[in-house]
Every structure is written in structure tokens, then in C-alpha cells.
């Protein structure tokens, strides 16, 4: 579906991921008695814990196999110093999407206070600047994208948005239009 991502799987990074997945799946499996309830009345096939137990059991086994493969591979060919450094860099690379998701979280917050159109415009222009698309044509493209979003979703499909605090500062006649369209 996509081009190959920039981040290449480093063996130590894969090991870290496998440890994380194995820990989460076995942890969830261990919680089955707390997170689901058994029912004495019904047959075994109706027990609420049955399906989660099957799913988590398979998940835990599959994750442990992956982890075992990673460990065997690293035992057979121990990582070089360079690989270790690359592994740490790769792990830090997991923070990169979190940076963009932080902006995204702020965008969601801003929509509820500043309104959909202003927040979307600022979010798009900021992201374009952040990823290095600073030429005037990209600013224009960002503006075009914001107008497109308003045109299609707010005006065209009538997607409702909560009334933001900012729009309440405007005169009543303008408020109605802003709330309805922007």
C-alpha cells in the first residue's frame, strides 16, 4: 500500500518490539480472570472469557515465537557496535510520529476553541512549514486544501462541529454564518 518507509528494521529494534508485544499479550492474558467474568449457569461454549482467551492465547504464542526467533538470530550473530548504535537511533525514531501526533492533538483541542477553519488552516500551514515545504506555492496549496476541506465537508456534506469560543466573540449575524459554514 505504501512505499517502503524510511525506517529500516534493525534487529535490536525488532527485538525491542517483540519484547513489548510479548509482554503486552501475556499481560493481557494474565488479566483474563479480572477483565472478564465466568458464568456458572451457561455451558463452556458461552463463557465470556472463552473468545478473549483463545485470541490472547494465540497472540501470546505468536509473539513469543517471534521473540524466540529474534533472540536466536542475535545469539547466532551478535550485534555489532554500529548495529547497537543504529538500534538506539531506530528506537528514538519511534518518537518522530509522536511529534506529529502531538501537533494533531493540539489541532483537535484548537478546533473546539478556535473553530474548524482557522484551526485547520493553521495546522496545515504549520505542518507544511515543519516538513520543509516553505515556498509560497506550498502556502497557497495549504490554503487551497483548507478551503477544499471546508467546501466538501462543512458546506457540502454538512459535517457538524461544536461551536467554538472564538466565534462567540463575533456579532450575532456573523456568528450564525461562521458556526454554520466554518
Amino acid at each position: 500500500m505504501s512505499e517502503e518507509p524510511e525506517i529500516r528494521a534493525n534487529r535490536l529494534e525488532s527485538l525491542a518490539l517483540s519484547i513489548l508485544f510479548a509482554a503486552i499479550s501475556t499481560g493481557l492474558l494474565a488479566l483474563i480472570g479480572v477483565a472478564t467474568k465466568a458464568n456458572a449457569k451457561g455451558g463452556w461454549w458461552t463463557q465470556p472469557w472463552l473468545m478473549p482467551a483463545i485470541a490472547l492465547g494465540i497472540l501470546a504464542i505468536a509473539n513469543l515465537i517471534t521473540l524466540w526467533r529474534e533472540v536466536c538470530d542475535l545469539r547466532a550473530t551478535p550485534p555489532t557496535t554500529q548495529e547497537k548504535v543504529e538500534g538506539w537511533t531506530a528506537l528514538l525514531g519511534w518518537l518522530r510520529p509522536l511529534e506529529f501526533l502531538t501537533y494533531y492533538g493540539l489541532y483537535i483541542y484548537a478546533i473546539q476553541h478556535a473553530g474548524y477553519f482557522p484551526s485547520t488552516l493553521v495546522f496545515i500551514l504549520f505542518l507544511l512549514w515543519r516538513v520543509g515545504l516553505t515556498a509560497p506555492r506550498w502556502t497557497l496549496a495549504g490554503l487551497g486544501l483548507s478551503v477544499f476541506m471546508i467546501g466538501v465537508f462543512r458546506i457540502g456534506l454538512g459535517v457538524w462541529m461544536p461551536v467554538p469560543d472564538l466565534y462567540r466573540l463575533f456579532p450575532e449575524a456573523m456568528q450564525t454564518a461562521l458556526i454554520r459554514w466554518f
Binding site: 524510511e6 458461552t46 494465540i58 519511534w94 518522530r96 510520529p97 486544501l145 456534506l157
Partner: protein, 500 residues
């Protein structure tokens, strides 16, 4: 006959026709943009279709699905960049054509074989779905449970080289499907007291996070790539009739695509890879494959385009989605209380017949659009990846929010976006997660019904003939897959699914 006329009546509705055209054109364009594609677009469009008439909603999504299968050939030929894994073989075969100054010939070969594959698959859909649904009328819960389990097993088997990861992803999806209040005793499962999880993990935010937002994050964090050059020289109509010189390859790969489309869990990529290997082996010009053979493009495109309509056969007849895009579309059915399965033909004949005709006409609309717009679409394929990432991320918000008008859903989408990003970066398959989520309730519900009827006796699955045949077929499939794995365990498998 009345049934088909009913469908034509649906098509006469301008809204349906317009939606079909919009969906098809949008599909071609996004299919041509590497990094966009059908899964991203359908996941974002999904909530907007909930307010539409079911036929309109499905037509829009199917337009994107089918259009993208055509559109993926454009960057593969014109900028030698496969926009999706299914375009890799087309890109490989088209490169020598482009080098020889015959890009238009390669393009028209791709379009023509796509058209034949697509139309034959729609005809197969028209012919095979009703008989299959009639057979399924005799199914009890045990048989439906076995069909659903077979689909899950096929999903894993189809991920050759990544079966452990696919198993983990599928099991994770099955687990996600159990979160919330279960139906038998109305008890909570893995909600940890959170009321917002009572209804389970909402499908749309999960799909958007996993498929669209993670793609956006990858585009935003990717290193800048040099801009490729668009090449479109040669005669455009040269290859349109040329495909019929390779009738055996054309029809053979189309029918193989249909067969694979019907099998749940196989999908376009695996169908195309197997079809290519088989055609290469049996073609008199097999030695030219990979060096610019017209048959190579024909196999790749005819198989690829035959899968989407054929994937609807098990979904409409049995209610079992075969791959991620039909799994997403199942949500549209359920929102409108249109229950796919054997009774669909009796309850909503106009919907099914309308779907058939729109799919058939869609192929014509797409070809006509491609004839006039190929150059322009090729330029769209050159869109800056980072700008694309910004656009997808912004569109994801409206898609997620509009599905339930809750900002908390956006938070769920963000969690799945991180998960999708990490899994993609490690080439873990995402499709099994979605199939697990969609199939989980079907499997659990049918298993409970079947076992409930037999008072918990597991032999119910082998004491009924159809179910027993399915159990035997599944057992054989697992045994042969396991045997193959043992044989190859010291050698890396050549073909691997990469649907991330």
C-alpha cells in the same frame, strides 16, 4: 430477468450514476498516487457513506476500490514507481517498454487487460453469487462458523513468509473484537471499567488510524525523494487490441484472479504473484517475462482487476469479507441494516442487482476517463509525499470525527496510527488485524450457536456433511502448509505478502 431489470432501474437514478462516476474517478486518481491508494481513501470516506443510501454508499466505495486497481498502473508505467504492491510487476514489465519509447503501448496493454479482467469478474459476480447464496441457505451455524474459520486460516496461509506475524495480527484483531459488552450475559470484557469501551473499539477510528493516519505519518517522516520523470511516448491505441493476441494468458489470468478473489484472505497481491509465475512457466514467450513482455503486463493487470468484484461474491452470498477493503465495506452494510448473506437476495434484490450494474458500468466509465485523463493523472502521481501526508492527516480528522461526532474517537485513531506506523516500519501485515476485528463477532456468534444446538458437543463440526468437508479441507491445507514450511525452513521464501 426481472432481477436484472430491477438493477437497471437503480442505475437510472442520477444520484447512483453520479456517485459511481465520482467514486471511479476518485479511485483512479488516488490509485495513481503512491501513498494514497484505495485503503486510505476508503477508510476516510467510510463515515461519509453512512448518511447515504446504501447503494450510493457502496457504489462510491466500490468505485474507489475498482478505480484504484486501474490507476495503480499509471505511476508503475509512467514514472516507474509502483503506487502499491500490486503494481510492482507492472512496473517491472513496463520499464523496457518505456525505455523503447513505447510507454503508451504499455499503458494501453494495462488498461485493456484491466478492463477484460474487471468485466469478467463482474460477470462472474452476477453468475456465481446467487447460486452460492442458494447453497448457503442450507448452511447452519456450524457451516457458517467453519466458513469464517476457513477465511481466517486462509488469511494466515496467504501471508507466506510472514505467517507468524499474520497470526499475531489476526489474533490481535480477534481480541480487539471481544472488547466491550458481550451479548450472552451482558458482561464487560477488557473494558477495565471504562464506559466508553462498553460498545467495543469503534471500527471507523480504528480503520482510519491503522490505514490512513499511519500512512500519513510515514509520508511526513520519510526522507525527500528525487522527483521522477513522466514518460508517455508511442501510440496509445496500439496495445488495446494487442491483448487479444494473448487470449490464453488474458482469460487464464482473469479467471485465476476471480478464483482468488472468491477465496477469502488471498487478495490481489498473492493472486497476481501466483498468476505471473504460472503464466511465465506455461507461456511460449515465458523467457521474455521481466524483460518487457506484453503478457507480463496482461497477467499483472488482468489478475489484479479481477479480484475486487470477485471478492464481493463471498461477502454478498455468505456475509464473509475476504480482504481488508470488503471488510471496511461491510461496515456500510451493517450501518444501513443490510445484512449480507443468503437472505440478502430475497430481502434487498434491488440493492444487489443495482450493485451488479454499477460495477459493470464502472469499468466503462473508468476506461473512458483514463483515455482522456491519463496525462493529467500521471502529474497527480508526482504530488509531494509530505504534502500528501499533511492532506491525509487533516482528512483523517474529519473522517474519524464524522463517524460518531466524538473527539474521543480521534484519540482512538491516534493510538492505532502509532501502532500502524510501527507495524508498517517492521513490515508486519495490517490486513489481518482488520479481518480479525470484523470476523471475530461472526466466528464467536456462529460457534456459540452451533455448539449451543449440540449442547457443547464439538463433533457437531464433523457430523454435518458440509461442515465435515470444510474441516477436512482446512486440515489438509494446514498440513500441507506446515509441510511446505518444514521443507523451506532453511531457505528464505521467495514471495512474501507485503500489504503494509
Amino acid at each position: 430477468m426481472d432481477f436484472l431489470l430491477l438493477g437497471l432501474q437503480q442505475l437510472a437514478d442520477p444520484a447512483v450514476f453520479l456517485t459511481m462516476c465520482i467514486g471511479a474517478i476518485l479511485g483512479v486518481v488516488v490509485g495513481a498516487i503512491p501513498g494514497a491508494g484505495a485503503a486510505v481513501t476508503i477508510s476516510i470516506l467510510l463515515p461519509t457513506t453512512f448518511s447515504m443510501d446504501p447503494l450510493n454508499g457502496m457504489t462510491l466505495l466500490l468505485g474507489v476500490y475498482c478505480g484504484a486497481a486501474y490507476g495503480s498502473a499509471i505511476p508503475a508505467v509512467m514514472i516507474n514507481t509502483p503506487g502499491s504492491p500490486v503494481a510492482v510487476l507492472t512496473a517491472l514489465e513496463a520499464k523496457p517498454f518505456v525505455d523503447r519509447g513505447e510507454a503508451r503501448r504499455a499503458m494501453s496493454l494495462a488498461y485493456s487487460s484491466s478492463f477484460v479482467g474487471g468485466v469478467l469478474a463482474v460477470l462472474a459476480l452476477m453468475v456465481l453469487t446467487l447460486p452460492l447464496a442458494n447453497i448457503a441457505r442450507h448452511f447452519g451455524s456450524a457451516e457458517f462458523a467453519m466458513v469464517a474459520i476457513a477465511a481466517l486460516v486462509l488469511v494466515i496461509v496467504g501471508h507466506g513468509g510472514r505467517r507468524v506475524e499474520a497470526t499475531a495480527a489476526l489474533a490481535f484483531g480477534l481480541f480487539l473484537a471481544t472488547i466491550g459488552i458481550e451479548t450472552a450475559y451482558s458482561t464487560q470484557r477488557y473494558t477495565f471499567g471504562l464506559l466508553s469501551l462498553g460498545g467495543g473499539i469503534p471500527l471507523v477510528p480504528m480503520v482510519i488510524g491503522l490505514f490512513a493516519m499511519s500512512e500519513a505519518l510515514i509520508q511526513l517522516t520519510a526522507r525527500a525523494q528525487p522527483q521522477p520523470v513522466v514518460q508517455l511516448r508511442g501510440h496509445f491505441f496500439q496495445g488495446f487490441m494487442e491483448v487479444f493476441r494473448y487470449k490464453r494468458t488474458l482469460y487464464g489470468s482473469s479467471f485465476f484472479g476471480i478464483f482468488c478473489g472468491i477465496l477469502p484472505g488471498v487478495g490481489e497481491f498473492l493472486a497476481q504473484q501466483v498468476s505471473y509465475v504460472v503464466a511465465k512457466r506455461f507461456s511460449p514467450e515465458g523467457h521474455l517475462f521481466g524483460k518487457g513482455a506484453p503478457e507480463g503486463i496482461i497477467v499483472s493487470e488482468a489478475t489484479n482487476n479481477a479480484v475486487p468484484p470477485a471478492a464481493l461474491i463471498p461477502m454478498l452470498a455468505l456475509g464473509i469479507p475476504g480482504e481488508e477493503l470488503t471488510a471496511m465495506m461491510l461496515a456500510v452494510f451493517l450501518v444501513h441494516n443490510v445484512i449480507p448473506g443468503p437472505d440478502l437476495f430475497a430481502n434487498r434484490p434491488e440493492f444487489v442487482a443495482g450493485l451488479y450494474w454499477t460495477l459493470l458500468l464502472m469499468n466503462v466509465v473508468i476506461i473512458l476517463f483514463l483515455l482522456v485523463a491519463t496525462n493529467a493523472i500521471a502529474k497527480a502521481a508526482l504530488i509531494n509525499k509530505r504534502f500528501l501526508g499533511v492532506a491525509i492527516l487533516t482528512l483523517s480528522l474529519i473522517g474519524t470525527y464524522a463517524s460518531g461526532y466524538r473527539f474521543s474517537d480521534v484519540g482512538i485513531a491516534m493510538v492505532f496510527a502509532v501502532l500502524g506506523y510501527v507495524l508498517r516500519a517492521h513490515r508486519w501485515p495490517l490486513t489481518p488485524i482488520l479481518l480479525g476485528v470484523v470476523m471475530g463477532p461472526i466466528v464467536e456468534g456462529r460457534m456459540r450457536q452451533a455448539l449451543g444446538g449440540a449442547n457443547g458437543d464439538l463433533t457437531i463440526f464433523v457430523s454435518r456433511p458440509i461442515s465435515a468437508i470444510m474441516v477436512a479441507a482446512l486440515a489438509l491445507l494446514i498440513v500441507f502448509t506446515f509441510r511446505g514450511w518444514i521443507k523451506r525452513r532453511n531457505a528464505r521464501e521467495d514471495w512474501q505478502i507485503n500489504d503494509t
